[in-house]
Symmetry: C2
Subunit: 544 residues, 2 copies
């Protein structure tokens, strides 16, 4: 959907916010001026973006947001209006040459290494390594954090829900209305899909990102019908062949009588407005008819009305595609509904009716999903909104963006809070695997060190441990790939669907102990001897 | 910052997401087709947007997001690409006339009533009333929910933090990097300001929305300096007058020696890189010099370095504007720093030094803010990011958008979960006040009823209570204003700053018992006798 100009005179609002990820930071502009004034704007610097703790009490995260970062970096520039605004908030005596410098900024000098989207990510392992002119790469801090943190968080959240649901249940993202504005919703839909969901209700995510879209009936659609409405054209042709068109309203009435007799209900019990709504929907979507059962009473109204319409459609060769429940005890109702489907399928000899998918929604979180997806459940699909999109268990990943080298010299932040220390130097990262193909640990080392070798013993220093350990990997994989070199894309980004498949493949290589959602065994990230020695040296010097 | 086109071929990505709030919903498109097929697309309908429970365990919320809704509604349309995409996901045999209908949609038939932004909002009281053609206003559901829910949630969160901090502390929003993408950040900055914050670090919020922007130094700015750097021009002119320029580096060295002597530190203790960074920043911002004290040791490095630079600047007539702490025990350090400021101010006879504002940041939530803002604290300003922007205590307001009438007939959702019932009919809402000007309760009644009158006893039915009560208000205020009539703006929207002031004024009229953040006295919302009778009638009929 489009827009010309908003209600307020705000040129380019939003377009800038997203496409340019213009998300800028006053502090960044001030720091930029500081660098410029110190003659250091073009010093070569490298930053790393990483997190310090896995989200949600788990032992893994999924890396995501790279496609948005690349889109941002490749188009980054400061427009005249942006520079003018910065000039208006910086001191009036700021050297005009500084603003001229800002006008020339783009990412033609920036190199980006990153974990591929959908990779497993662990504390301290860089999701991004960004290098280029100091002033510029410092300026990128907030936009990149903003683009990576939430994307990775929601992808991880989706992956956890997928682990709980197992591979065969359908997971549908319903969270647009709970997102931080429409654009937050687009991010949520995109990266929920990457993390393992099957679809989104957000058509924009389909249109712009290729996420499969799926939605269902709204309660207000149903309550908008009284039952006295007459469809302008109640006639429906059979699904296949050229049989005569049938008046669906009449046919539904006939079937509803049979259904009520079978279920021991009075014909006046099912709500006529609900039935009219179902018929209207069936006329619009004969091949995709579905029922939302709980606008009135599920057992006395929603279910018989659904069955009446589904059986009338069935007579014409159409199969209803599902029902949805949005209130009450979802598990118990699903079992009851399946039982009714079974007896009705037998009674009317329509075997497919037994297997109509049951979708449930309504505040489903990890615990409720575990209950609903347990062995023997009759629930086939889940619509999850709030607890997916807002990540209530931990609404922020807490990524940081830290300077690791300037002019080829390693830098380190040595604070009084040891947890906030950083790992200095330009680094490489490797994943070591055992002979069964499971992940052993990740190793961070200096960029210039030779990579660890398969089948060779390696002494490393696990983060947070006092002593080194030795490890003999069956395989070694480099983790970071170069996506952007001096502003040029080095290789095409996988499609979203490919990244989604890669995420599931990656998770399959993580051992169950690390994959556990509560109190998992922490996955180890370790430093090479050389990196560890550098940390010790800089710490002892008490200096960056 | 600008963008031409992203890394992926996604035309209009983002621009659409925000400006058009294109946030669309597959379900909505399907329901739209259902209405259309039922010949009901143009039935006149009214929806209400409201929440059922106040967020964060409090007894109030602030209404926000109206400016975004108006911008969205006034520019709403479906572009060719949008309609084509919908056509691609709807059944192939969908009547082409339906898509023609979609192409003609705009909000020229839509009327919007709403609480002014910054109003106190309570459960069940509509934040928005949207009326117009059924198909269209149903289609608006998700975008409007998306634009109002998070805006109101974050404004309420900001208002709670403001209540804790009191009116005189500075509250700075630092949350961009924790938002759901850059646009979520823009929403967060805008409505945090509306809710009572003083500024944002997000320059885009300044540029597009007029939010005051304020930022501070970054740790990486400081750790990027080793101390061996030579500023290209270390000379600084005095603040006023025409005295000779002074070499700031040299002057800082002289002052640092005095400071170290005063504090009993060795000259080698303060970090030379940190000092070089402070000097670079002071050269760039002599009138706005501030120090970030905790890149190394606060007491042995950050503080003496800051004092050296501040005193050197002071000699030239410049006053440092603040220091910031971002780790450790913020309260205790603030007290210690103020003590050092005091003795140093006395020692060197620079009285202003004593009052330099101390800003703290680092995971400040409501509890920590209460501790840091307590009586006698030396903290003057707070930078709050994650816990403001992500609303971890309750990351979703849970607004709903419910049909209340079609064709002038009231509609009601009667579900088996009583909590999910809706209040039928087109309504008016009034706020009753006592003689001291405090809020008594809100009354919902049918639109056609005469308004309650001041000084006249009124019998009402509080929501959730079994029995009616009588109330005699000293004043009665209508709550909902008409902003849009048949697509035309009826009155100009107040500026963001005006809405911010209105929010604080509104909060001042709420009694302390309702304003309490934990276990407050719930504020009552009541139904008029006529509305209550309608609810009873429809419930008994078991019908919409």
């Amino acid at each position: 959907m489009a827009s010309e100009r908003g209600a307020e005179p705000v040129p380019g609002d939003g377009a800038a916010a997203r496409d340019g990820a213009a998300a800028e930071n006053r502090a960044a502009a001030e720091n930029a001026l500081g660098y410029w004034r110190a003659g250091r704007a073009r010093d070569h610097a490298e930053f790393e973006l990483f997190f310090r703790r896995c989200p949600f009490g788990g032992a893994f995260a999924l890396a995501a947001g790279l496609r948005d970062c690349l889109r941002f970096l490749r188009t980054f520039c400061l427009r005249d209006a942006d520079v003018q605004f910065l000039a208006s908030v910086l001191p009036p005596d700021t050297d005009p040459a500084f603003f001229e410098h800002l006008r020339t900024l783009d990412c033609s000098g920036v190199t980006l290494r990153a974990l591929p989207e959908g990779s497993l990510a662990f504390p301290g392992v860089p999701l991004l390594q960004v290098s280029g002119p100091l002033l510029l790469v410092q300026l990128l801090e907030t936009p990149l954090l903003c683009l990576v943190s939430y994307a990775s968080l929601v992808a991880t959240n989706a992956a956890r829900l997928r682990l709980i649901a197992g591979p065969n249940k359908r997971l549908m993202e319903f969270g647009l209305r709970r997102a931080q504005g429409p654009d937050g919703g687009l991010t949520a839909s995109t990266y929920s899909y990457l993390g393992g969901f099957d679809s989104s209700s957000n058509t924009l995510a389909g249109q712009l990102r290729g996420v499969p879209v799926a939605g269902t009936l709204a309660h207000s659609f149903i309550t908008s019908f009284l039952g006295s409405e007459v469809p302008p054209d109640p006639m429906l042709a059979p699904a296949i062949g050229t049989g005569p068109r049938v008046d669906l309203t009449t046919s539904v009435k006939v079937w509803l009588e049979r259904v009520c007799a079978h279920l021991g209900l009075g014909m006046q019990e099912p709500h006529p407005g609900e039935r009219a709504a179902f018929v209207a929907y069936a006329l619009a979507f004969p091949r995709a008819f579905q029922g939302l059962l709980d606008s009135y009473s599920v057992q006395r109204s929603g279910l018989p009305n659904f069955l009446g319409v589904a059986l009338a459609l069935g007579e014409l060769g159409y199969r209803a595609v599902g029902v949805r429940l949005d209130s009450g005890d979802l598990l118990q109702q699903a079992q009851e509904i399946r039982a009714v489907f079974r007896t009705t399928a037998t009674r009317f000899q329509v075997p497919w009716l037994e297997f109509i998918p049951i979708t449930v929604s309504n505040n489903i979180d990890e615990e409720e999903l575990a209950r609903l997806a347990q062995e023997g459940t009759e629930v086939n699909a889940f619509g999850i909104g709030t607890s997916l999109v807002t990540c209530p268990r931990q609404p922020s990943l807490g990524c940081v963006y830290k300077l690791v080298s300037v002019g080829g010299q390693p830098r380190m932040k040595l604070t009084e809070e040891p947890e906030k220390q950083t790992l200095p130097g330009s680094k490489a990262a490797f994943r070591l695997l055992d002979s069964a193909g499971f992940l052993l640990l990740d190793v961070l080392q200096l960029a210039e060190e030779p990579p660890p070798q398969a089948e060779k013993e390696l002494k490393v220093w696990p983060l947070g441990a006092r002593d080194p350990c030795t490890v003999k990997p069956a395989r070694v994989e480099p983790l970071l790939r170069r996506w952007l070199h001096k502003g040029q894309l080095c290789e095409p980004l996988p499609s979203l669907a490919e990244s989604r498949a890669f995420a599931q493949w990656s998770l399959n290589r993580l051992s169950p102990a690390h994959k556990q959602l509560q109190s998992p065994a922490p996955y180890q990230v370790a430093l090479s001897e050389q990196l560890r020695a550098l940390v010790d040296r800089l710490s002892a010097r008490g200096a960056p």
